[in-house]
Structure formats: C-alpha cells, structure tokens
C-alpha cells in the first residue's frame, strides 16, 4: 500500500514528487541517469509558439544558498516539442505537465490548444510568471484581472486541466491565486523565481547576460512556504509547491504549508539523483513522524488536528 499516491485534477500520481519546469529539459538527459518511471510526474520546459533562443549568456549565477537564472524560455517551439519530445516521453509511464508560455494572450491560447492535445500531456502549467523575458508572461502573473482573463481563455481551449504557475514577485499572492481560481484554474503551482541580480566586482556590470534573473534554491524556501501557506488557506485549488526543496523533510514542510504535491528544480543540479532519493526516503520519514499517508500532512500547519480533507478510496 502506497503512502505517497496522490490524485489531482488530471493527474494520478504514484508519488507527489516531480521535477520542476526548466530544470529537467524534456527528460532525455536525466533518463541517462535513472529510470524516469519512478517519478510522480514530469514538468517539461516551457513551450512557446515559435522556437526561442533565449537570453545572452551567462545565464546562471550562484548566490548564497541559491542561484539566479535568466534562460529566457529557450525552447524549440510547441510544434517541435510535439513532434520530437513528447513522443519520446511516451515510453515512460509518467504523466507529463506541459509548461505553457507566451508574450501575448493569443500565443498562450495557441500553445495551450495544441499541446494539451498531445497524447501524454495530462495537465498544463500556465507560466504567467517567468521574470526573464520582456513581455514574457510576468505581466499576466502580477495583475489579477489579466491573470483571470488569460486563465479563462486557456481553460476554454485546453483539453486537459490547467494549473496556473504563480509568481512570487507580487504584493498579494492570494489575489492572484483567487483570480486564477475565478478564471477556472484546476490547480496552482508555486512559486516561480524571485527577481534578483548580481553585479561583478571587477567590472561593476551585471553578472547575467540578461541583467536580472530569477532566484531559486534553498534561499527562497521560506518565501515559497509562506506563500503556499497563505494561498492554501484561501482557495480550494490543489497546490503543487516548489521553491528550494532539497530533501524529504522539505517536501513534508511544503505539505504542512498546504501543498498536495511538490516540484524540485534547482536541487536537480546540486544532486541529479535527488528526485529518486527523496521518493525513496519519504515513506521512511513519514513513518518516523507517525503518518500513514503523505496527505495527512497536507495543510497541517493551519488545519492542525482536523481530519485530512482528502481520503483515499
């Protein structure tokens, strides 16, 4: 009997651990390292309508307990992804969550309509929060009405449930979450990266080719947890939590805060075998803490003592 199975809109997960979008490509590289079948799901790299090269290098910089990235949504475009990457991923028995990005509403809608119809795409992740491209989504993630409207339009064309990926670079994350809910979102994923920068001591210039970039890794975990906590108390939408997860204990902290599943980004770079490691360790840690199923941890920081909202069949 599994302690880790979780059912979410469109997603029947054998475990709630999945690599985060942009940190796992389309799975090819990590498939050389381990059997991808063990993963709960895979969030693939953002797809746009046309191929994008992305930002000038350097695209990454290290920071204390974190990193900045400014990849700039480089991707071969949804057509190529549907022709080359998704069919290749069909060999694995793992739900795919397709990350959808764009510069205009039309672009989001076009990508969503098409990629949601790929055979093995189980859900969309609407990326309204990429801080690294001009006109690249972030406006959609910082204004509630714009977010609601975009979600509605994407929902209307999507063949699968839609999760909206929230940006932490906002005054009030709950407002955006409620807007996504009002727009018909089936779930939320959070958080994307915090906008940051580094300057080179010798030249005084920004270290990143794109000047600013997105901060991820353990440094942002306290912010991510706080946002998952705030949002989970206010919406009924399931949340896939992320931001600095590096261990099984971190996963449980996100469940306590209110997440129903988690994604792992930056930590795949520190330890490319971390996802399988965490999946193996979770049941042991849960038992140690006295839980029979990971969903007993869900929202426990604020619904302490109450019966878990979710019951397995």
């Amino acid at each position: 009997m599994s302690m880790l199975d979780v059912t979410l809109p469109g997603l029947s997960l054998k475990n709630p651990v999945m690599p985060a979008s942009g940190c796992f490509g389309f799975g090819r590289e990590f498939s050389q390292l381990y059997d991808l079948n063990i993963l709960g799901a895979i969030m693939i790299k953002a797809a746009t309508a046309e191929p994008r090269f992305g930002n000038p290098t350097p695209r990454v910089a290290e920071t204390p307990s974190g990193m900045l990235n400014a990849i700039g949504l480089q991707n071969p475009g949804f057509k190529e992804i549907m022709a080359q990457e998704l069919p290749w991923l069909e060999q694995f028995n793992v739900p795919i969550i397709a990350n959808v990005a764009g510069s205009t509403e039309e672009e989001y809608v076009e990508v969503a309509r098409n990629i949601s119809r790929a055979k093995n795409v189980s859900a969309l992740e609407l990326n309204v929060s990429c801080p690294n491209v001009k006109e690249g989504g972030i406006a959609f993630g910082t204004d509630p009405l714009t977010c609601q409207e975009l979600t509605r339009k994407v929902k209307a064309v999507s063949a699968v449930p839609v999760y909206v990926k929230l940006s932490p670079n906002v005054t009030n994350i709950v407002d955006i979450a409620l807007a996504a809910e009002a727009g018909g979102a089936d779930g939320l994923t959070m958080i994307n990266t915090l906008l940051g920068m580094r300057l080179d001591l010798a030249t005084a210039k920004p270290v990143l080719g794109n000047t600013t970039g997105g901060l991820s890794g353990p440094a942002v975990k306290p912010v991510a947890l706080r946002m998952v906590y705030e949002v989970s108390m206010k919406t009924t939408l399931p949340i896939i939590g992320m931001g600095g997860i590096h261990s099984a204990a971190d996963v449980i902290e996100f469940f306590y805060a209110g997440a129903s599943a988690v994604a792992i980004g930056t930590a795949n770079f520190t330890d490319p075998f971390l996802c399988p490691g965490i999946i193996e360790e979770l049941p042991v840690l849960l038992k140690q803490l006295g839980y029979e199923h990971i969903l007993e941890c869900k929202g426990r920081s604020w619904n302490h003592g109450r019966k878990p909202a979710y019951h397995r069949a």
């Binding site: 490509g25 050389q32 480089q74 795949n268």
Partner: protein, 258 residues
C-alpha cells in the same frame, strides 16, 4: 555512462601559484576521455549550491584514477583545494564530448594550444595522441611565471613553447604570436583556453582542421537547463543552438559562434 560517485582523494599538490593538481579514485576513470569534464560538488553539504565544472587532465584506467588541475579562484575551487588525502569528494561525470582523437591520423602533426586553466585537458589528449603515433607540438600560454605548470610533462611528449603575457617566463606575448613567429606547421589543431584565444586561432587558421574546447557558466552540466548554450553559424534565430556541456565542450572550429 554518467556516474555520481564519492571519489577518494589520492593526492593533492599545489603545482604552481594557486594551481592545484588533484588525483582521485573512482569508476569515472574507466570511461573518461580526453577533453571531457566532471562536475564537482565542493564543500560537501555545507558547500556552494552549484557544482563546478573541471576538466579531466589525465586518466589512469588501471588504477581507476583521474586527475584534475585547477586554479583556486573562488569559493568552490578554494574548498576543492582544501581536500586532503583520503577524503571523499562528490563528482559527477564524465560529462560532454572530448576531443575526437580519430581526426588525427598516425604520422600526422597535431598542434595543441592552451591558455591558463584551459591547458589541463590537453595533457591527456597529448598522451593519447602520442600513443596513437601522432606528432605533437604544444604552445602553452600563461599570465606570468608563477603560474606556469606542466612544462616538463608536456615537453616529455613533444616540442613545447611557453608564453607569458608579462614576459616573466618563455616568450612574452600571446600563444598566437608564438605560433606565427615560429611558423609551426600542423595538420590538426586542438585548443582550450580563453575565448579571445580561441577566436584568434579560428580566424588565424581558417583552413585548418581545428577543435576548440569552450567554457560557459553551467547549471546542470548534463544538458537539461539550457544555461550553457551557444549559437551555431549561419543560424541567426538560434534554432540550432548547441549546449556546451552536452554537445561540447569540444566543437569543430566554425561550428559554433565563439
């Protein structure tokens, strides 16, 4: 096969000013090839978040050992330099595609040009080319006398020119100055070093067969994060980008935009 292993430190020596030679034991040695690199987690659990890419500078299959030569430049490499014999270090590798040995045929001449901490991977390359019956010449450029390393080791394999930017050792100037001045003849060129050096070589020898090893800031090191891309010639919209970590770090001259 890419492995992630706790390699045991066999030897760590400072071979020049802030330049360390670190030999470790691990199965990575069994499949490593010249020009490939490893991605090193420095400082253990407390250390920096990102791994550090370091070239493999020599390989000893029988002993399951390989060597890295690196400059203690920042936080990660300082921690790497502090490792003592017997300690374990978490290494991911071998990564990327090395130099194509088969492009230099027995009896031909290969010119190996390196700059600074771009020199280490050329050492194993030179050993293997020599074994293969290729005649090797080395031109190695350094900043200054105190950071010169491996002159003897390279000299044992073939003619070796040393240049320093400040003229404190060998010829004063850049490696390209020396190549032109000495009119060094060669069939194949292999190089690794600063981008300016690689550019000078590419433009200096437009008709020669040349293989250049590139550097870029890396995230994953395995091709998944798109941190280390470069553009391909004749492809302005960048559809045909290459990833330095997994398509490179070695590219044929003219293949990618330097």
């Amino acid at each position: 096969m890419i492995l992630k292993e706790d390699c045991r430190v066999i030897e760590q020596i400072e071979i020049a000013d802030s330049i360390y030679k670190l030999t470790v034991e691990g199965d990575i040695a069994l499949t490593a090839e010249p020009g490939q690199f490893v991605h090193v987690k420095t400082g253990g659990r407390e250390g920096p978040l990102l791994r550090r890419p370091i070239s493999i500078s020599s390989i000893n299959r029988e002993a399951r050992q390989f060597t890295m030569i690196f400059r203690a430049a920042g936080r990660g490499t300082f921690l790497l330099a502090s490792l003592l014999n017997g300690m374990a270090v978490d290494i991911l590798g071998p990564l990327g595609n090395g130099y194509p040995l088969s492009e230099a045929w027995p009896g031909s001449t290969a010119l190996l040009v390196g700059g600074g901490i771009g020199i280490p991977p050329l050492y194993e390359l030179s050993r293997q080319l020599t074994l293969q019956g290729v005649k090797v010449t080395h031109v190695l450029g350094f900043q200054t006398a105190s950071v010169v390393f491996y002159e003897q080791e390279f000299s044992a394999l073939g003619k070796t020119y040393i240049t320093t930017v400040d003229g404190t050792y060998g010829e004063k100037g850049y490696v390209t100055d020396t190549i032109f001045k000495e009119q060094i003849d060669f069939d194949t060129l292999f190089a690794c070093g600063p981008i300016q050096m690689l550019k000078a070589l590419e433009t200096g020898f437009p008709n020669k067969k040349a293989f250049l090893s590139l550097e870029e800031r890396m995230g994953c090191g395995v091709g998944a994060c798109f941190a280390c891309v470069c553009k391909v010639h004749g492809d302005p919209d960048g559809r045909l980008y290459k990833k330095i970590c997994s398509d490179g770090p070695v590219f044929r001259a003219g293949e990618v935009v330097l």
